[in-house]
């Protein structure tokens, strides 16, 4: 098994959506879905641009903009497909497709340059068998959009350079795709605003094309572009690769996760972060969720602290949006957006679910009541500072952010008459199937953490504990205690959402995702291994794992009490979320498909914090390994307070070398 190679044999257009995620390439500036070159918008082709948000006509929200597809290429007169392979080199982010047609062989490679943000290189190899073949390649201007077109005033130019340019609907942001190639075409063809070169091919034929997005055209070759691209990837892996000995599948899966994280890391541009679906499309409006702070920050903090700082800075820069949101609800301080868009504005609406039975939007409470979001910011900031020693960030906005979040919590809190304890009522915790609960243990701890870090002395209601089990929220234990299978059997529609007042989970103890388990993992020193075990054994059978954020926390938890065997399947699930596909693509009638960066970040957390047991003890990193049976050794580099370090773990011994 090559741990750097993903391959899929056979031509199956029904897999186009899954493969679009599975074979994604990207360089932080853009993501290019792993669709075939001859595909068009109906197969979810996208060159998805990081940090470019705009409203479509009649939209009330912004979402990411896709650029015209300069990678388009197809053959004419080639007959049927005889064999087909799609492959992804995840060491260097090179996508390749090879197709044997009746009358020709076709191979196309492409990569989004890690060294040149705006540039994509493509090489097309055509080998005709008996008869002449026609290659049509150029810029497809029919852009895939989930919610209506974003690009207006589109026009195209052809010649030595092909170019399709437009402006976005709302903010008139200019968007352009340009293309050059290293061979003269036989003719130009236009269809609407799309513009193509046509080549009539009789001999084996190699064409190098260079596509630039929002930049001047580049005249170069595939080989010239490849070298600096590979060098950049080498550096990324050198600083981040987790080496797993003894388990090639685990190695491949983890490599794959980290590949995705590197593809979407926003190394270019300021005040940008990472969307919940990465750069795989417009789902969730391209918004940044708590996924970034809780599930992605560990990876970047340990392997690329400057990027981690950038992610935090996105939130500091976004304080204005958080102040505005708090004010909107009559609170003080900073209430961060549940779905943060450009400038840190809230992108989440009050209606996140479309009921499958009535096709009506249903009022949900993610936006207004999932208040742990502000504490998540403070948590990520402080974790970042602890690991990097970057105290300067406290002065550069960290303190302001922390105090603003504390003010928010103080104004949001309630007290019973004649009692001092703060309560946080009517909230949504990580488990979104139970909306509007009181004193969610996770939320209360995040609020208390925030108040502590801001130097405020207040007691926050601690959770009820029954025989060691932390009650997820007030009254949780009184809910119907029934098996996941029975709850699932009550569904009346395959796409039905489990939450909301009418959903199957609402009145039961079945939860969507790790909630108490997230609490015990984020505050490891406050819960004994035995505590973690008891809560794991209680909550895991009651968890649907309906979110890609869930598996990671259960894997981490299992490692706490020495059960790598329980952790291992969750590790694979997390690491292979986009490789295996099959996750939920629908929440009611709302499409939520795309890549799952938080699962990828979670896989890294499991490998390093779970299997490796890396955590801070006082002010020093320490290992508490819990290796799965199949893994004989684990090695990984990481940065600690400006110094590169390396963890070495075998079943017999472990050490951190600095």
């Amino acid at each position: 098994m090559n741990p750097w190679q993903i391959v899929r044999e056979g031509y199956n257009p029904a897999e186009a959506a899954d493969n679009g995620n599975r074979f994604l390439i990207g360089n932080g500036f853009m993501g290019i879905r792993g669709t075939l070159e001859e595909y068009r918008l109906e197969n979810q082709v996208a060159i998805n641009l990081a940090g470019v948000y705009d409203r479509a006509k009649n939209q009330t929200w912004r979402e990411p903009v896709n650029a015209p597809n300069g990678l388009y290429a197809s053959l004419e007169n080639v007959g049927n497909i005889i064999s087909h392979t799609q492959a992804l080199d995840i060491r260097y982010g090179i996508h390749t497709r090879e197709t044997m047609y009746t009358h020709a062989f076709l191979k196309i490679s492409r990569f989004a340059s890690m060294a040149e943000p705006n540039v994509i290189y493509q090489q097309i190899i055509v080998e005709p068998k008996n008869s002449p073949i026609t290659l049509v390649c150029g810029i497809d201007a029919d852009v895939w959009d989930i919610n209506g077109p974003h690009l207006m005033d589109m026009h195209s130019e052809g010649g030595e350079v092909l170019k399709v340019s437009a402006t976005t609907y709302e903010q008139n942001i200019p968007i352009s795709t340009s293309e050059t190639c290293n061979k003269p075409h036989d003719e130009l063809r236009t269809m609407g605003h799309s513009i193509y070169r046509v080549f009539h091919i009789k001999e084996p034929f190699v064409l190098d094309r260079v596509i630039t997005i929002n930049a001047a055209p580049v005249f170069s070759t595939y080989e010239s572009g490849l070298k600096p691209h590979k060098n950049t990837w080498e550096t990324l892996w050198k600083n981040s690769q987790v080496k797993i000995i003894g388990d090639e599948n685990a190695q491949l899966s983890l490599n794959y996760s980290m590949y995705h994280l590197h593809c979407i890391a926003p190394r270019h541009g300021d005040n940008v972060s990472i969307a919940a679906r990465g750069l795989s499309g417009q789902v969730y409006k391209g918004a940044v969720f708590w996924d970034t702070e809780i599930f992605l920050m560990p990876f970047f903090t340990l392997t690329e602290p400057a990027l981690a700082r950038k992610l935090i800075h996105y939130r500091i820069h976004g304080l204005a949006g958080a102040y505005a949101k708090a004010k909107e609800y009559g609170f003080d301080g900073a209430f961060f957006p549940w779905e943060s868009q450009d400038g840190g504005t809230e992108g989440c609406t009050d209606f996140n679910i479309v009921d499958v039975f009535t096709n009506r939007p249903v009022r949900t409470f993610f936006r207004d009541k999932q208040i742990h979001i502000s504490g998540d910011m403070v948590y990520a900031l402080c974790q970042y500072m602890d690991w990097t020693g970057d105290e300067k960030l406290w002065q550069d906005g960290g303190r302001t952010l922390t105090e603003a979040c504390a003010k928010f919590y103080l104004s949001r809190a309630y007290q019973r008459v004649h009692r001092d304890t703060l309560e946080f009522t009517d909230v949504v915790g990580p488990d979104e199937y139970h909306e509007r609960v009181d004193n969610n243990a996770f939320t209360n701890r995040m609020a208390a953490y925030t108040l502590e870090k801001a130097g405020m002395k207040h007691t926050v209601r601690k959770p009820r504990i029954n025989n060691g089990i932390i009650e997820q929220f007030d009254g949780y234990f009184a809910l119907e205690d029934i098996s996941l299978d029975i709850v699932r059997s009550r569904l009346k529609h395959p796409k039905e959402y489990w939450g909301t007042q009418s959903g199957v989970a609402f009145a039961t103890q079945i939860i969507k995702q790790a909630d108490v388990m997230a609490l015990v993992n984020l505050f490891p020193s406050e819960f004994s291994d035995e505590d973690v075990k008891k809560n794991w054994l209680y909550y895991e059978p009651r968890t649907e794992h309906g979110s890609s954020l869930s598996a990671c926390m259960y894997a981490l938890g299992a490692c706490r009490f020495g059960r790598a065997d329980l952790a291992y399947p969750f590790f694979l699930k997390s690491a292979r979320a986009d490789l295996d596909g099959g996750g939920k693509s629908w929440a009611g009638n709302v499409y939520i498909g795309g890549t799952h960066p938080a699962a990828a970040g979670g896989a890294y957390m499991i490998a390093t914090q779970g299997f490796g047991g890396l955590r801070l003890n006082g002010n020093q990193p320490q290992l508490n390994p819990c290796l799965p049976e199949s893994i004989t050794a684990l090695t990984f580099p990481f940065m600690f307070q400006g110094k590169p370090m390396e963890a070495h773990i075998t079943r017999e011994k472990h050490s951190i070398i600095s």
Copy 2:
């Protein structure tokens, strides 16, 4: 128009359910649905017993028990129905049906004796035309039950006396129906546990039958029973009749409402009250709602104070149930049941709606969050004491009840950090389409009233007021402001419930019933006529009137600002709720049909407090009339502090004569 007579021509079994309510007779001990004598359980025949609650097998709640139907009678060999009339004398509660068959004429009269609680009199007249006719009459033991059988160990005896006896499933309460008649039968017939007399009739034939429920058989005649019965009714009317001059329809409708109130008044037995569907069946588990305290108490307080005292005493006696409920939710004091059953125990479940799309029960929050219920008790108590001068009731449990309710509110309240004002969050107000709201103006006022009456000094959050409009709850004005028609057009199923998170009303300003309008009417001195007008004009178009409690409050409100023309249709709607039928019989997939005592009580309130404008000014009753155009004069007796008084109102003048 005879204002004491309800008549329906024509034989239509499809109307059986509506007629069962429309032609109900009763004497407080029992209600007898206005079904025809030949009907059986499939047509909702019931002799519904006041205050007898029991669980059916596999039930988790109690509901009222129906007795075997001793009124059963049918003719054989009579041919087809040629003409048919069903009539109700509402002055004396006498139900009559007359049917002309091909081969015979049949007339049956019946009344539930107001003078003898356990006794029903029936007279059957049969006139054969050409051929002999067979009359079968006796006790039908197949009892109608919505949720499974309640009667066990049933057995029957025949002879001079027919008797079917049984015991209830849970508590083994003995239930029996006995029958005597004044003619010897030709044969006895049994079918299962049912037992019938058979008469072969060749000549005009009159049979008097006396049916007793849970009592020894009575040997008597129809005429002998009729006299004391009529005398008792005469007294009731003397003390209560509202005389309307100029509008016979209004007079009939109001008489009809008051007839129903007299039929269900619990003059027998202790610690009983009035169920939300009166004595018309098992709907709502026979439970007592706030309907009694807010919508029925004015009628009884003004016309029969001893009965009003009994209704209050039911709640004082039920304090144990209210203490238990408060404790169950972790609160102090008395949290009264939303659906109070025998002994004041809570009969409401957490699942009041069955979703029409999934057929699954939906978690609703009437039981745990409709906390105005405790304040409603205090309000009714204090109103009763103000009108009757019965200060003794304060010592006889009134004070205990008030203080216990105040303790409940104090423990349920929240305060913002560093603020003293009490807030009541996460409640359901009268408008049940918006569950889990904060600071419902009605609820907050009821809580504040309770605290005041208990002598506790606390400030409760006052409602936000925008241009004179009271905000129903925090954030109501921010909800989608859209017409009732548009909201209705969004329904996808005729029985769909409008409330709950997925319902069409939830995220809009469309409300189920009077809420702010209930507030301004219950606290008339706190709102100017202009305030009432502004709020009426705002809220009425936003009200679906999906509850029979709604029309009354809007009629009262309109009278406050001199618009009897606006009040009048709501008066008729309220007074004729059971006469016209057509109200909602379904909440999702749950059957909620039956009579509507609160609408009847509301009609009385409109006539006396609205059209008559009767209210207390300081410690004296006062009239502020607002007569509809069609009504030239209004007269009614009432009791004030132990003294009989009479209100006389014409368009020119008005006076209270004592």
